[in-house]
């Protein structure tokens, strides 16, 4: 088993903004997570990124018929880091202390000099960024993962 594996994913997301969003989400059957926390869904997750700002990954259609609720599709580039040494990879590219995070924490941070978000998985990290930065971050992650794998395989 290699110490760290990197997978690339296209992650269709929906950004919901506006003071009516909590009501809309509840009307659609979602439990609202606390700020910067992830609520797991059968086919994705819901995260609260602001007082009335949420990010939703779900294939379920959303009924949003209140005035102060704006929804936008997001096509973030996503990466999954998995394996025993995923924290080691992050140590090369991110200043946050990954030893302190726990499953389903939601992080907004700088990774290799660009803005990114992350969801802490049970054994890894789901990392996302603006799609225009996807190629750069993929390249950087790939190099870093290779470096860490070389180190541990040696």
């Amino acid at each position: 088993m290699i110490p760290v594996a990197l997978q690339v994913e296209q992650l269709p997301l929906t950004l919901l903004v506006g003071c009516d969003v909590p009501e809309v989400l509840q009307a659609n059957g979602y439990d609202l997570p606390e700020l910067m926390q992830v609520a797991r869904l059968p086919d994705g997750f819901l995260v609260r990124t602001g007082k009335d700002e949420f990010l939703l990954q779900s294939s379920k259609p959303l009924v949003a018929n209140l005035p102060s609720c704006w929804t936008y599709p997001r096509v973030d580039q996503a990466f999954v880091l998995q394996g025993e040494h995923w924290r080691e990879v992050m140590a090369y590219i991110c200043h946050m202390d990954m030893g302190q995070v726990k499953t389903d924490d939601w992080l907004m941070m700088s990774v290799a000099g660009v803005n990114a978000w992350a969801r802490v998985l049970e054994e890894g990290l789901l990392l996302g960024c603006d799609p225009s930065l996807g190629e750069y971050l993929h390249h950087t992650l790939n190099e870093t993962v290779n470096r860490v794998n070389e180190k541990f395989i040696k």
Binding site: Q10, D52, W70, D97, P131, S132
Partner: protein
């Protein structure tokens, strides 16, 4: 290896693995684990380098990782420190500061001229005659260089990484180990860092023959090596201290950037040399260096030794040397006999003579030590005795390795009992223990380490318990207050790095440099590679005595990061070169785009043959004017603005009125700062009463988003923002046939009546959800189409495919610049600078002063009639050699700079070079010629013309022309 001893109990070398290396062309043997200096000493090589200024022969001095005497270079590297770098099999090393080799150095006579090169010599000489300065500079640079850089060396990429812990313990000597262990026992995650290859510190060389140390040594070390909460990092230098416990750890693999909650500094002491005539001769070394040679590398430092002491560590060292068979010719004690009576008695029993209240006046020898001359300390030059020896060991005092404490904001004070600086006031979360804290007894060092750990843990827990930080300090002096002897022939070096002698510092003080910081800068004491580790304490003592003040009044200099030299590639780390690409990037590659950087974005500058750049650009311009062009404008900032106060926000952030934009329409949006300077532009489109969409320039998109966010917070507006810059791909379809191409592909009516100029519409382009805007930066009928990022490539392919019948051609940034220039449209940041107002840019129409407030309004109201410059159009003669004029070339009038070219390029439509100039208003007059000075210095005549250059009435974008084109 004739000076190699039998196996020593704690030695660091592996005798099973022999290595061969060469030094100055001669081959030597070493053991794995030897550093270069130790290996050479084992082979009886005494001259290891030459000094920086006078090229004097130098040998081992401290062997403590900052020994500037031994600076080497190999075929692949330079600035190799001989006391740090392990010997590598097959490597060849050379001393750096020589001309023609170490022994035959062509500058070895320089020391004879030292009387002609006193302190401040470089500042005072060479200034006149002025024309000779370049000659002196060349000579000095050639003579003074340390090593040669081979630029063909293979680049080494060293990553940096982040680490986190509760506590950093600096130094793995006895107190540091104890502190780490105690902190870990209290649940703290600890990093224990030490610059040496193995932990133990002074425990393993200074206390190597101590029976108490032998009992505690192994358990003490093992407990930290085994503890799950302690990470031990050897060969790791704690380079410096930065705010909020941000600390670089420089190790073999590079630099770790560590963040901790608290720091315990157990960095120990730096042994200080005595100052006497020829104190730099090879064979004169610090006692701790000799102890390290013996304990770590099993090397006999010499055969016949004289030892100069002022403390009990020196006497303990004498016993260590005696044990390995060195003949102790004499011990010279700066202190009275009663200060060390027990030791004196012990040595006398062994037949070793101790000269109390004596000093070494001079060391004798040509390239290495032959003898020393000693005499009574209070009668210099009188009643002297010459003693033959090949080794002179100095143990006269210490200076704390307190750089981290200083950098953290700590204050140190001079302890007159110890004759040493000790920590006074330290910031919260910073603790010192062990010898750096003035604790010398081994048992007390362990207690002090425990105290520091408890204090540290209490701090992290938030307790405000009080601790006596000086509780375990020694009550005896371990340093001489004046280990310095004047000599009529000088060469009594205070700073080995810079060849500074006692008289140099005395003269500097007499010249008025009577502050330690001034003295440092004038004399350069402490400014060499070892950064004063051997020099500063004595320099302070000299200045204090000269000024007749005490040490505390004299003060000390600031120790800056990094503590030891660090490789530049380690400092550089791995470069993160962020680049963004649009959804159409692969299509650009397919169309042979030549890319340029636009901030972090990669954008096509033009398409086609790189060698035919100008032709390609002109063809692209022509395609847009006559047929159809397609440009990727995904880099534009794209921000959704939503909420009841959205219009109010935009009204206050932009100069034009935004509250009266009609539904489905856009308006040019100009942003200025509080001083009225243009900072961004774009368009604002009204989707609904509570929903607007705006664009911003590529370079300012993120800043505009931040400024809007801040305004919302400051003014308490009910507005939400969503920055869609990277989420939306965008193209501009421009040219007379744009409507014909687009109309059958969309599900809305895009006729002039249904979708007028400056309109904004939601639509589907062959099933791709899109936002369409009829804007015309390039001055032709055009549609800007914004779609989700993942649909961008499909949109591009669709338009290129369907546009073939109209001769569609992709065009790049340069063609766009030419096209907009023909229209007289500005590019913010190119045609404007950090002072340009809308009035100067010829855009008074974009400033709605009737609004009661917008950012910058007050300034613009004042400046409306007070502009000194104005942006004007110019053209060159149609037949002229046009391409000489470039952006930033200056307009010269009567020898004065009167303007600057902001944009310039060949206009296919005008058939000549056109451009814009930010010009002094007094010269602005249509038809008036201007002189532009080109790079070659030639003056090119330009004619001022009105703008736009092309289609001044904007008919190309208006309905009638649309119909004609159709």
């Amino acid at each position: 290896m004739r000076y190699r001893l039998t196996k020593q109990p704690l030695e660091w070398i592996d005798r099973q693995h022999k290595l061969r290396f060469s030094f100055e062309g001669k081959t030597f043997e070493a053991f794995e684990g030897d550093v270069i200096s130790s290996a050479l000493w084992a082979n009886n090589v005494r001259m290891l380098g030459r000094s920086f200024k006078y090229h004097r022969p130098r040998g081992l001095l401290s062997l403590a990782n900052h020994d500037v005497n031994v600076m080497l270079q190999s075929d692949n590297d330079t600035h190799i420190r001989g006391d740090v770098r392990a010997v590598q099999e097959g490597e060849s090393y050379y001393a750096t500061n020589t001309q023609g080799g170490l022994k035959q150095d062509r500058f070895k006579w320089l020391g004879k001229l030292s009387a002609m090169m006193p302190v401040g010599f470089y500042y005072k000489a060479f200034h006149s005659p002025r024309f000779l300065f370049p000659l002196w500079e060349t000579i000095i640079r050639r003579a003074a260089g340390i090593g040669k850089i081979n630029t063909d060396w293979k680049r080494r990429f060293t990553p940096k990484w982040y680490e986190h812990a509760d506590v950093l313990v600096v130094g793995a000597g006895p107190s540091g180990i104890q502190a780490a262990q105690n902190a870990a026992e209290q649940g703290m995650k600890v990093i224990l860092a030490d610059e040496n290859k193995h932990i133990g510190g002074s425990l393993d060389y200074q206390w190597v023959n101590d029976t108490d140390a032998a009992v505690i040594r192994q358990p003490l070390k093992q407990q930290v090596l085994d503890h799950p909460l302690i990470t031990v990092k050897t060969e790791t230098v704690v380079g410096g201290y930065y705010a909020d416990n941000w600390i670089p750890l420089s190790g073999p693999e590079g630099i770790a950037k560590l963040r901790v909650k608290a720091v315990i500094v157990a960095s120990g002491l730096l042994e200080q040399p005595a100052v006497f005539h020829n104190n730099d001769l090879p064979g004169v070394m610090l006692m701790s260096a000799a102890q390290r040679l013996v304990a770590r590398y099993a090397i006999k430092p010499g055969n016949k030794a004289v030892v100069l002491v002022a403390n009990e560590e020196g006497y303990r060292g004498v016993m260590d040397m005696y044990k390995v068979g060195i003949e102790i010719q004499a011990v010279v004690d700066l202190e009275p006999a009663e200060a060390h009576s027990e030791w004196v008695a012990l040595l006398n029993e062994k037949g070793i003579t101790v000269y109390s209240e004596y000093t070494v006046n001079e060391a004798c020898g040509k390239d290495s030590l032959d003898a020393v001359v000693i005499g009574p300390i209070d009668q210099p030059g009188i009643d002297t005795t010459r003693i033959d020896c090949d080794l002179l060991l100095m143990s006269v005092g210490w200076s704390p390795a307190a750089h981290l404490l200083y950098q953290a904001g700590g204050k140190l004070g001079y302890d007159k009992t110890l004759n040493q600086f000790v920590p006074g006031t330290l910031p919260a979360g910073i603790y010192a223990c062990g010898r750096v804290n003035g604790v010398f007894k081994l048992t007390e060092q362990l207690k002090d380490g425990e105290r520091a750990a408890q204090q540290c843990a209490a701090f992290i827990r938030g307790d405000n318990a009080s601790y006596d930080e000086g509780a375990f300090r020694d009550e005896l002096s371990h340093s001489s207050g004046w280990p310095i002897v004047a000599h009529p022939d000088g060469k009594n070096f205070v700073d080995f790095d810079e060849d500074l002698q006692l008289d140099d510092l005395l003269n500097a003080a007499k010249e008025g440099f009577d502050n330690i910081e001034l003295l440092k800068r004038f004399s350069t004491v402490g400014m060499g590679p070892s950064q004063g580790k051997h020099a500063n304490m004595n320099a302070i003592r000299i200045l204090a005595k000269t000024l007749g003040q005490d040490i505390d009044q004299t003060g000390s200099t600031t120790a800056r990061p990094f503590y030891h030299p660090v490789r530049l590639d380690d400092l550089a780390g791995t470069r993160f070169r962020v680049h963004r690409v649009s959804a159409m990037h692969q299509q650009h590659i397919k169309h042979q785009a030549v890319f340029m950087d636009a901030g972090t974005w990669q954008r096509p500058e033009f398409y086609g043959d790189k060698a035919r750049r100008e032709t390609m650009i002109r063809e692209e311009v022509q395609a847009v004017r006559e047929g159809l062009g397609l440009i990727d404008v995904s880099t534009l900032g794209k921000i959704e603005v939503m909420g009841p106060d959205a219009a109010c926000l935009l009204d206050t952030m932009y100069t034009m009125r935004m509250t009266n934009i009609k539904h489905g329409m856009t308006r040019y949006a100009l942003m200025v700062d509080e001083s009225g300077v243009i900072i961004d532009d774009g368009i604002v489109g009204k989707i609904s009463d509570s929903h607007y969409y705006l664009t911003a320039t590529t370079s300012h998109a993120d800043i505009t988003y931040r400024m809007l966010s801040r305004a919302i917070a400051e003014w308490g507006l009910d507005v939400r923002l969503s920055n869609r810059t990277g989420q939306q791909a965008a193209v501009n379809l421009a040219g007379p046939y744009s409507r014909e191409l687009l109309a059958p592909l969309v599900d809305i009516d895009i006729s002039d009546e249904a979708f007028p100029y400056l309109g904004i519409r939601e639509a589907n382009v062959q099933g791709i959800p899109a936002r369409l805007m009829r804007v015309g930066f390039v001055g032709e009928l055009g549609f800007e189409i914004h779609v989700p990022y993942n649909q961008g490539e499909s949109l591009w392919q669709l338009l290129m495919e369907k546009g073939k019948q109209y001769g569609i051609r992709p065009f790049g940034v340069e063609a766009q610049r030419r096209l907009r220039m023909e229209k007289g449209h500005i590019i913010v940041g190119q045609d404007t600078d950090g002072l340009t107002t809308p009035y100067e840019a010829g855009m008074p129409w974009a400033v709605h002063l009737k609004k009661t407030f917008f950012v910058g309004r007050q300034t613009l109201a004042i400046m409306k009639d007070n502009t000194d410059r104005v942006l004007v159009g110019f053209q060159l003669a149609a037949d002229g050699a046009s391409t000489e004029v470039l952006e930033s070339h200056l307009v010269i009038d009567n020898g004065e700079i009167r303007g600057r070219v902001t944009s310039v390029g060949y206009s296919p439509s005008c058939q000549r070079v056109i451009g814009m100039i930010m010009l002094d208003k007094q010269l602005a007059d249509i038809g008036t010629p201007l002189c532009i000075r080109t790079t070659s210095g030639d003056m090119v005549k330009a004619e001022q013309v009105s703008m736009p250059f092309y289609d001044p009435d904007g008919l190309r974008q208006k309905p009638q022309l649309d119909k004609d084109a159709a």
